[in-house]
Amino acid sequence: MQRHMERLRRAIWNYKQPLSLIPELGAPISDLFIWRNSAEWETFFELTDVSGLFADHTMSANRYATLFFFDNRGNPFFEKRLNFGIQRRQTIEVSQFVSGSVSPIGTFCVFHSHIPQAVTDLGSCLAERGYLSYRYLGAPLRGYVHGNLDAISLLPNQSLKLLGAHSFLEREYRLQHELRGPALYEIAIVNPSRRDQLVSCEVLSLSGEEVLEKQDVQLSPKGCHLFPVSVNPSQPVRVVMTSHLVMARPLVFRTNEQKMDVFHG
């Protein structure tokens, strides 16, 4: 009986609320990556010919990737087509493509032009969940972080379709990380769904008993936001994201004087 009750309880959270929507077969998929561009921040993307990994590596000369850039409100402002090197890594300086945006942050996606037949035959879609790096204050090292969501697809008519799902119920994403100071944390969140989303960022005492601060933002589709959280050395805190997104996994930037770290929730 208890097991049935638990199944029923879970069903309320799972019924018709997938992590992401099923894309059209054959459509390339991408995460919605966050770019930052300012006097302090530079963004880089590691472009590789993913489809070429599945096929004869001498055949990739005609393949390319198309990058679509959006501002923090999800408005498109730039597209760029880039050719692949054959089994090569290209570290793309994203900042060179986003200088036309009035916003210092935004999102972008990367679609591969060629889908290997072997991938389609498996009923799968080729995904770019790639690797980003951020440079802070011209540091000699960049901080790397991977993408992790099938957020958006490119349809055959070249229109974009968001794949992020939203829930009937309000969900919490409780970052399992202790925020320690002195540092400025910036909790970055993207809206991969087709509707505007209200996202709250609650800063809690380490025990979780006290809400120290709450910030809200209304996010447009494809838009993003950074919640600043300043942490004192004497009071480590934790963070909870609340929204109707099925999984509001944030990207976290931590800066302290000249140093930076970046990681996914």
């Binding site: 959270w13 992401s20 099923i22 894309p23 077969l25 998929i29 590691e46 590789t48 993913v50 990994l53 599945f54 590596h57 090197g85 054959i86 089994q87 090569r88 890594r89 290209q90 570290t91 072997a118 991938v119 498996l122 009923g123 799968s124 879609c125 080729l126 995904a127 969940r129 690797y131 790096s133 540091a139 000699p140 090292l141 960049r142 901080g143 790397y144 972080v145 991977h146 119920l169 969900r171 919490e172 994403y173 409780r174 970052l175 399992q176 990380h177 202790e178 380490l206 025990s207 979780g208 008993e209 934790r238 099925v246 999984m247 996994r249 140093k259 770290d261 990681f263 996914h264 929730g265």
Partner: protein
């Protein structure tokens, strides 16, 4: 719940912050006080020691120095939270009897620090099947004066019986040329320098083991310890979504394993 390793790397101190609260508000309803354990593999046996308890909603950080008197320096310490005390010795990695979540997985902060900088990622590890295999393409190597790059080959298997495997490093554009082989062991975190292999900024290294699975972590650091970067690559199944993803991974492994053995 999974296990949570404490990492180690040259010039860095490892630490792990473990949490006794659920990562969401719907998969786990009631959180109870749990035992905090450290488990490690020594002389062909899993050894576990309870090192405290963790109340609901609490976090706790365990540094490598905190368990140095228990765990030999060459062993990989694995933290866990359990409802019951783990056996002091066992042939098979003990099952953790605590809650699991999927959206997201129940994670810990796995970090490396120097006197000047700190880096971490949210991670966990579950035992890999043995024998397994690894195929990973890494665009993480960084270049510059005083920059060092390491692969941390993180493996845990259920069996405590020590076995080794061969790790091979190639340039994906020239897979016929083997750049390096390294012997790695199960239930450990082997640290392998990637700096003296002649890779350039446009090379895409491919790292292969036909005998052992692992989480491939990449650490970059400046020699003075002022700057650090840590991240892992995706498994090949992540290059596709939906459909038979694991078949896609198998296809990629078959293709690349045959390329490097031509």
């Amino acid at each position: 719940m999974s296990y949570y390793p404490i990492l180690n790397a040259p010039g860095c101190i490892g630490w792990t912050t473990i949490c006794n609260f659920s990562p969401n508000n719907w998969e786990v309803r009631h959180i109870t006080e749990k035992y905090l354990n450290v488990t490690w593999c020594q002389e062909g046996t899993w050894r576990s020691k309870n090192i405290g308890t963790l109340s609901p909603d609490k976090t706790h950080t365990v540094g490598i120095a905190d368990i140095a008197s228990l765990v030999p320096a060459e062993s990989l310490p694995l933290l866990s939270l359990t409802n019951s005390i783990l056996p002091a010795r066992s042939d098979i990695l003990p099952h953790t009897d605590t809650e699991r979540t999927n959206y997201p997985a129940w994670r810990a902060a796995l970090g490396l620090s120097t006197a000047h900088a700190s880096t971490s990622y949210q991670g966990e590890i579950d035992p890999f099947p043995a024998p397994g295999s690894l195929l990973t393409f890494s665009p993480f190597i960084q270049f510059g004066e005083g920059v060092e790059n390491y692969l941390i080959f993180l493996n845990v298997e259920a069996s405590a019986v020590t076995r080794s495997a061969r790790l091979e490093i190639y340039d994906s554009a020239r897979p016929e040329l083997l750049k390096r082989t390294v012997d790695v062991c199960n239930n450990s975190a082997a640290v392998i320098s990637l700096d003296d292999l002649g890779f350039s900024p446009t090379d895409l290294p491919v790292i292969i083991s036909k005998e052992m699975s692992a989480i491939p972590l990449y650490l970059s650091r400046t020699r003075d310890g002022e700057y650090l970067s840590l991240e892992h690559t995706h498994p090949p199944a992540s290059y596709v979504v939906h459909g038979k993803r694991w078949e896609a991974q198998k296809l990629l492994k078959t293709l690349w394993f045959s390329r490097v053995t031509r």
